[in-house]
Symmetry: C2
Subunit: 507 residues, 2 copies
């Protein structure tokens, strides 16, 4: 994806200089600003949009103070503040964006992010001496994230509170000499002051790369507190009002549908559905591969490698029973199964990917998704629950999501359980005869069956567009359940062995 | 609270012995059982009840296997399995029951708990050589928890899979000799086998103390797998069906309302509402106490001591502005504010205390509740959103909840902001004049005002019944906002200093 950057110039020098504001003028400005902000907040509540305010800046510029003030000016009932500092292992254990997904505002609400996604990369850049190429890669991920949310209706306001080195020195000295405001973080602040140029360079690397027309940075001179507060408040007010007026995010210049290039290959027809296994061979193979998988999952646990297993397939393709053959091989303490149905009212108040982030596995664990985010490009596409521009951009979003998982070290296995249309009918009929299986056949299954060819198209597109090297699809020949189960077990073993660097049992 | 224990005798010896079941008979039994279980699960979905199945037992008895089988027999879409093993710091950082509250099933759903609340105490009893008195205390807490959920409609099935020492030895030997089933946890299993008597004693201590008529333990002989599986399945089926038939939990023999003894004391009238502070004194005091609080919170952070601040009060009593004076003293990274309104649809699918567990502070952090669980005995009582039996038992539930917090080391401060009825009217009128405060006055405020005396009664009852030594109420004289703010800051400082073992600034 290409983004239009606002400028590659020194973002800090183009900043407007602070002007002093008298006490009385300030009080008056604030009175009006507060009313305006509350009005904007009310207006926001009625929309399906949400707001993220990122407050970054140099030490001593008063990030914490500004956040306090926004908490004072806004209605706290529609507001949450998040800092990403001193995270617990449940966050650090998972792909780094997990914490941000956990901190998204619901539609109609505002989230303030202390430092947001930028604190960590800036620190890493300074302290781990990362390179501009690294900054480019992390910036690309941030741009993708911000753009994805923007297209989903999240208004983003990114504010950088700036001080020149001299102003920072004066501010820190003031703070230090005032015992009431002298606080623990001071030591770090002075340390950072001495690294001022390094931090500036790091911030500039990140800011200039994420400063886009649709999601610009606002560099605010923080040397005069009143100016700083009013400027931030106004930015917030203007941005929110403007975005609400636009309501639905504007179509981008490049037509979005261009992202989607239809897949011509018919993956499904390439599957040999006649493959099967004799009972005896199957039973021996089952024990062998389950045992192997069992040991591999413990090894992955010991090495903090997580696994995501995603199962999609036709109705009655045998997803449930295949999952059971997999879980039979895993210690019950290591895995969890997530059954994905239609999103709840609560879940609909977020980006569609939101509900898949929370259950991602902790280090060394396994999450099994029985249906998944691919619903976006399958049922939501076919049934038109998602608009065309929504599902067409989903392929790229899904690839990025899975890329975040695999680059964190998570093993991602994806299965499409394929069967023929006739086989499906056989199984529907059989199910109706078994008392404890009857509940599995619903009206919906019959309706879905009528749309078989539409689903075929959707499945082929899905496989063609999301079959990435690190998160490949396995198309399972499901007409024989026995064959399918062994194929799945083998496929998971292979991917795990690759991740663990084993060439098999010998290692 | 008194509970009727089923028996203090040796719970394991009274167990029914397993009988062998032939392959064909087993298959037939299972076919029917699965249909029955699914039917019960369907029936459950339509109720406001939920189910927790705790699977405990000795090593080698097949807890994991039984959980796998239940996952196979039940419809996974209405089922979640939780193990409390190798918890991340976000759980271990918080009061120990946090993890169980996070794992509660929604109404209509089933949760399987691997070991549940019992694994930890049994391990502690064995490895840390705890005493029976300790077992009694932890059992009391568990009984309270189970009873509270039962009264809220949660069906609880507690199953202990038992093996004699000889049977355990045979099972472990079998497992060890079968390389396909030989797995990592084996070493622990043999270690535990050598401690068999210790584990038995520990389990008996806990089981006999939590074996109540309303929530009995089922000790199942696990020496024959088929018998074990069928017995567990049947227990589940019978218990769920029986509980659903009863629908609403039966009133207990002792009438529940007896728990509630009206409070005669009029706490509110004892408050001297004329207390006030001059602006100059106030401004100096504000700086002093905010500075002190700031240092105390950092010290608490360093020592992993968490704080819960709870604010309740009349409409327009100044809760919001008082909270701002408190947060102004805290680093924005350390606290979070939770604004409590009417529960959402989602939240109503759980026990009313559920939504307050998740935001409890991590080690060293602060959570500020702007309104809280006291809504149960205030608005829900006065507006009759809760039934009488519900709000009358809430006092005890709340005391237990706060006791779990304080015994974890959390500092709990509770404020009732009191003002006179006239002062409220003044403030309502003033608010209507200020543009950014106008939104604060709603129809509801006027309606609440008409119920002033009903709220007075509710507040006096609340204070009288929940003013515990470790979680005391501070009734704030709120007619003067300045006085109130300083009173609150002082009160928090005092409680923190006590918890930190300081006698003030000198330490």
């Amino acid at each position: 994806m290409e983004y239009e950057l606002v400028t590659q110039e020194d973002v800090f020098h183009s900043m407007e200089s602070a002007k002093s504001i008298g006490r009385k003028a300030y009080d008056e400005l604030v009175t009006h600003l507060r009313a305006d902000l509350l009005e904007a907040q009310r207006a926001l509540e009625a929309t399906s949009q949400s707001v993220i305010i990122t407050i970054g800046g140099v030490d001593g510029a008063g990030k914490g103070e500004v956040i306090q003030i926004l908490n004072e000016w806004l209605d706290p009932r529609g507001l949450d503040t998040h800092s990403f500092w001193d995270m617990a292992a449940n966050a650090t254990d998972r792909p780094y964006q997990w914490r941000y997904w956990q901190s998204l505002p619901k539609r109609g609400r505002i989230a303030i992010w202390f430092g947001g996604m930028y604190t960590d990369p800036i620190d890493k850049y300074v302290h781990e001496r990362r390179h501009p190429e690294w900054a480019e890669e992390i910036s690309r991920e941030i741009r993708f994230f911000e753009n994805m949310l923007r297209e989903d209706g999240t208004i983003q306001i990114k504010i950088w509170l700036h001080l020149t080195k001299g102003a920072q020195h004066r501010r820190l000295k003031d703070l230090y000499e005032n015992p009431q405001e002298h606080w623990r973080a001071m030591q770090d602040d002075w340390k950072h002051h001495n690294l001022y140029e390094h931090f500036s360079e790091a911030a500039e690397q990140l800011i200039s790369r994420t400063n886009r027309k649709e999601s610009p940075w606002h560099v605010v001179d923080a040397s005069i507190k009143e100016w700083r507060n009013v400027t931030v408040g106004r930015l917030l007010h203007e941005t929110v009002l403007k975005a609400i007026k636009l309501q639905a995010p504007k179509p981008r210049k490049k037509k979005i549908a261009l992202k989607f290039s239809k897949v011509e290959r018919d993956y499904l027809s390439e599957v040999d559905l006649d493959q099967k296994l004799d009972t005896e061979v199957y039973e021996q193979a089952l024990i062998t591969w389950q045992g192997r998988l069992h040991r591999l999952f413990w090894e992955a646990y010991d090495r903090n490698i997580s696994t995501v297993l995603t199962f999609e397939g036709w109705d009655a393709a045998g997803k449930g029973s295949a999952i059971k053959r997999v879980t039979a091989a895993i210690d019950a303490r290591l895995y969890r199964i997530v059954c994905v149905g239609a999103p709840t009212q609560e879940e609909n108040r977020y980006h569609y990917l939101w509900r898949f982030w929370d259950p991602l596995p902790r280090a060394g664990r396994i999450t099994i998704f029985d249906r998944s985010w691919y619903g976006r490009v399958l049922v939501e596409r076919v049934e038109k629950f998602a608009e065309e521009k929504e599902w067409t951009r989903a392929y790229e979003e899904i690839n990025e999501f899975e890329e975040l998982l695999t680059s964190h070290g998570t093993v991602v296995c994806k299965f499409w359980l394929h069967i023929s249309k006739d086989k499906q009918m056989d199984r529907f009929k059989k199910r109706l005869k078994v008392p404890y299986k009857r509940h599995k056949i619903t009206e919906e299954d019959w309706r879905n069956r009528e749309k078989w060819s539409q689903y075929e198209t959707a499945v082929n597109d899905m496989i063609g567009l999301t079959n990435t090297p690190n998160a490949p699809w396995t198309i399972v020949a499901g007409n024989s359940k026995k064959f399918a189960r062994i194929q799945i077990l083998q496929s998971i073993c292979r991917q795990l062995e690759q991740a663990l660097g084993n060439s098999g049992d010998q290692s």
